[in-house]
Symmetry: C2
Subunit: 771 residues, 2 copies
Amino acid sequence: MATLQDIGVSAGINILSAFVFFIIFAILRLQPFNDRVYFSKWYLKGLRSSPSRGGAFAQRFVNLDFRSYVKFLNWMPEALKMPEPELIDHAGLDSVVYLRIYWLGLKIFAPIAVLAWAVLVPVNWTNNTLEMAKQLRNVTSSDIDKLSVSNIPEYSMRFWTHIVMAYAFTIWTCYVLMKEYETIANMRLQFVASEARRPDQFTVLVRNVPPDADESVSELVEHFFLVNHPDHYLTHQVVCNANKLADLVKKKKKLQNWLDYYQLKYARKNSQRIMVKLGFLGLWGQKVDAIEHYIAEIDKISKEISKEREEVVNDPKSIMPAAFVSFKTRWAAAVCAQTQQTRNPTQWLTEWAPEPRDVFWSNLAIPYVSLTVRRLIMHVAFFFLTFFFIIPIAFVQSLATIEGIVKVAPFLKVIVEDKFMKSVIQGFLPGIALKLFLAFLPSILMIMSKFEGFTSISSLERRAAFRYYIFNLVNVFLASVITGAAFEQLNSFLNQSPNQIPKTIGVAIPMKATFFITYIMVDGWAGVAGEILMLKPLIMFHLKNAFLVKTEKDREEAMDPGSIGFNTGEPRIQLYFLLGLVYAPVTPMLLPFILVFFALAYIVYRHQIINVYNQEYESAAAFWPDVHGRVIAALIISQLLLMGLLGTKHAALAAPFLIALPVLTIGFHHFCKGRYEPAFIRYPLQEAMMKDTLESAREPNLNLKGYLQNAYIHPVFKGDEDDDDIDDKLGKFEDEAIIVPTKRQSRRNTPAPSRISGEDSPSLPFSGKLV
Amino acid sequence: MATLQDIGVSAGINILSAFVFFIIFAILRLQPFNDRVYFSKWYLKGLRSSPSRGGAFAQRFVNLDFRSYVKFLNWMPEALKMPEPELIDHAGLDSVVYLRIYWLGLKIFAPIAVLAWAVLVPVNWTNNTLEMAKQLRNVTSSDIDKLSVSNIPEYSMRFWTHIVMAYAFTIWTCYVLMKEYETIANMRLQFVASEARRPDQFTVLVRNVPPDADESVSELVEHFFLVNHPDHYLTHQVVCNANKLADLVKKKKKLQNWLDYYQLKYARKNSQRIMVKLGFLGLWGQKVDAIEHYIAEIDKISKEISKEREEVVNDPKSIMPAAFVSFKTRWAAAVCAQTQQTRNPTQWLTEWAPEPRDVFWSNLAIPYVSLTVRRLIMHVAFFFLTFFFIIPIAFVQSLATIEGIVKVAPFLKVIVEDKFMKSVIQGFLPGIALKLFLAFLPSILMIMSKFEGFTSISSLERRAAFRYYIFNLVNVFLASVITGAAFEQLNSFLNQSPNQIPKTIGVAIPMKATFFITYIMVDGWAGVAGEILMLKPLIMFHLKNAFLVKTEKDREEAMDPGSIGFNTGEPRIQLYFLLGLVYAPVTPMLLPFILVFFALAYIVYRHQIINVYNQEYESAAAFWPDVHGRVIAALIISQLLLMGLLGTKHAALAAPFLIALPVLTIGFHHFCKGRYEPAFIRYPLQEAMMKDTLESAREPNLNLKGYLQNAYIHPVFKGDEDDDDIDDKLGKFEDEAIIVPTKRQSRRNTPAPSRISGEDSPSLPFSGKLV
């Protein structure tokens, strides 16, 4: 049992370590040679280039201006300075709304913490149940338990305070959630309606085009939409199965890069011939002239590419039964995306086209029946993954003992039986299988989502996030509260009565408070502080820079800024919401720790989003209904657990009063779903019409067809300038990439973000605070 | 324990009573004075009129043609003769699809019964577990139990037969369900696409029109749709709150009827003055001249009506924030109904307009928030109704004893304490509260649906049916299997583990087989046979005819043909599906009884639909997804119970094999939902476009606006010819009622339905068997 003092010491250590991380970060980020790691966002946007070649050699790598070290925590206020509308412009709506999840945590838990400390802590503290228990039955208890509901005797009337507080917490949480949902729905609508013309506003993804004996997919699509949307159809792009072509193009790019490298080397070495070996890693094999070899290779692969491209374009089999259909107006696209086209609802499925960069190309051709089957299989697989993953891992672990190793590989016996090695292996092996599994889990979940057949990267991530959340709930939260593997829990839950389950968990809740406080500090505080160091990308960048980087392009590619990572990040935040809501009425002691986490994470991630993370796609906050739903789920779990806990405390009248809470919360959820969710699924016609009218007034002679024609070509056809003849044949695939206009061009090469946020941002349709 | 013989006797009695019902029916229906009761559908369609006044007096009332009595079961083949397309034309798609529910029962259970008797009965019979038990432990058992799974010893390998059979039954049921869903979806689409032009094809119901300070609702609606559907908007009709006006009109009609009556009497009595008393029921009060009095009264109420009408039309407060908006094409209406109009999804809600006669007018103006709250309240209320209804009823019953009566009304003491009366009361009272409650339950559920705010009668009935099904499942099925009131079950389920519940019920299932066989015979066989007698409408008609009918119009109104009554009928059928599926692998003995029920009910209801029932609305089989879903639910329940039962039989390997069944069934349900349900919710654009194109080619000069202008006026404004000035002011409310064209006019006065069905029916777009 940890005392308050223990917690204090632990908190001190964790705060200190976070502080150390920040100091290291402050030093590292000021060094020019780390510039690409800590300001990668600006490089990606083309607003910052490598440190100038001029100046002293040392200054190119190390910052010698000591004044800049003094204000080493300056990045924090800097991160908070950039106003929200500018941040949307800079990093996209997804990032901004993602930050608002942390902000939501602060808004929910700050008043709850104040209220809980003002009311519940005194109520809990002024009892002596635990002291009595100590004296009578020699039961040990910590100071923290004195602050919790455990300190209140059975049958006490004081439980009414907890019930009233549970109501207050629920009402406040729901109120904040509703306000936030409203704000974000408005932000999304405003974002969608904002100035920039985007191809996905005019385009609908059509899937499951039925096979036709007489017409090609392209003709069929054209005819169908000319007939059924006669006044609105503009153009379409069929989807090619270009996976093989994409591989070839990738290979060619690699060869080209080697060629560049050797040509550079050749120039430097004063035109000496450079020989390379062709075998594994250039270590053996026939020696040839490098430049000649690569030129020949590139030539060969270019021919292959043009052949494959010819095939993709001409072979009807490589055309997938899917197409991106564009309309003359946003109104018509909105209509087509929201309606059913034919009497068979598994054919001609229409949905909003995702952003071009958000499309997950290889899933576009999955037929309907297959989708249902895949979904079912994945549900079952996920069930087993969640509840039984520990079984194969335990099996692997049982093999991975020293005896096991010796059995399989007797030649290792000498090494293994060394005393030092033995202890290392014994300390290291047992956990390794589990840790490897947990490290790969997000990837496994992403693969499962891909198999399920989602057509956009954003929806893949949303599904993976949902599964990761469930996995965490079962295997982190529940497994920590009632110790035992998930399948044991499952078994005991199947054999327990439904009203016993909340009691079992509820009783264990107050006892686990110290554990979760430590968890929040280690995983939350230190984890967040560690995130800002970008340790892995930093090391990888310098390793690559030292050994692999051959050209400037390579250096560009050596940057690994990462992205928000919704599929892992959001479920982790949700765990803190769950902990906060569950412990608020039980052990208010935990709330300040949650608050510190949310505040710290908000600042750190805001900084990262401004300076580091790359924006991979823009789904316009399509994930918010999921976030909202999970907080509601956490709220209901907390209510059920409180019911269970008070049930065991014989607070007789509590149950009927508490049972209303989940019912009301579910009602609230339904209300929010109906009121706000459509903004995330459908596109109101009024908005579309307004925007169309505005545009036609402003640009009456806009060549929309030209604008849309190439928006949705497979990425492999983009940016190729060397096969014009094929492009002519394709007709639709032209060379210019679609440029989404950015307002930031005037600021090219602005040295540091810090100055920008001080400037006035251009007036946007957003007001600072959206209601 | 009932033996096979007992069951045989019981079956004999029930078959005999059904036979007696049929004979009585055959005699009654041939009497001309019952004509309006047994052929009311034909009267309602105007295809039959009262028996001719000519001929012998007796012949007008009694059928003296003895030859017609010989073939007294002739109505059965007659009922089956009318082909489906003609039946759709005659009684609507709803009725035909309703009949297909019984047909579905036959299709599912006939092969299952054959298979079960061929495989399961021998497997069960050739054991001696029960006999052994009889000898060893003196456990009694009946022959029926020997045919059931109870006769198989624990740990037996024979359970594999049951598992394989469970798979076979599931696969067969799912196959039939899928085929049927497909057929009915096609029927619905074909029906919607069929020749007749209907106002609801062009019309969308718009609700929650936001309040506007400057414009009236009508202007607002017009402007909104002119802006947002500029090329398609045609016209609209606002919804008036005419509930008070409707009352007044009803009152006037009644007075007019009395006036007619007295004028008739006056004419018959050779112009003697007729005096009436004004007091209660004409028993006391001031005596006045009847004709003069009623003329004055009608005059008064007419003035009131015109004043109220003026008010409804001119007072903006009486205009509800809802409107029926009509479009130029079906395509545009389909678009508007399926899309979201504004960024606030609680305003400008659009949905398909129900058929004019299907509209539930008083619910059109409920705002969105209120709807959510009402729904939540009704869910909670229904939960309590289902599980705790027995408590107030038990309380009433405890009061309704003889002692209770004497206490409340001492003056009844003499009567009550009479020995004969005492026994009557004691036999009668205890059940009366429950029986009254059960009789009123469907009405209570309908009121709950109305409160919930559905806008069409069909959706009201669907919701009521869902609730009635749940109620039956809990209070008939579960309460019979594990005897005890619902709330006791609820309590025991809350305290039992989830995998114990199927066991508890599963074990009880085979023991209740005889009870349910009797139930099927009494409630099913005799109930269906009783339905054809139309006893209540028959008695009511003759009572009204004798005492109340004053004019020919009254006689028209004295007919009470009733309707299918989806809200009570369908849940009752579902109980038989549930019983059949649950008992198929357990006690196959029950299946033939189910089959007889479905066959009998099919014939009887087909006859009733052709000859008796009135069609109140046409929802184009919108209820089928509910029917499908409930059969799936019954299937899953049956699988879980079988799992529970085999679990107690220690059929160790059974569980993992059976657990896949519900998972697969749920997967199948999701597939069907995605594949077929959209046909019942959305209207494909291709269909709409096809129909529009056809129509514009056929009738290029159609005045659609004229056709649609009055389709959706409140029924109270329809058919009034006496207030033309007001109508002019209203502008939109004209007198002619919308006539949905019928092909049957050429058959006016066809004497009996029997001849019709023999004729060739006009060729319809339906083929006899739709796939």
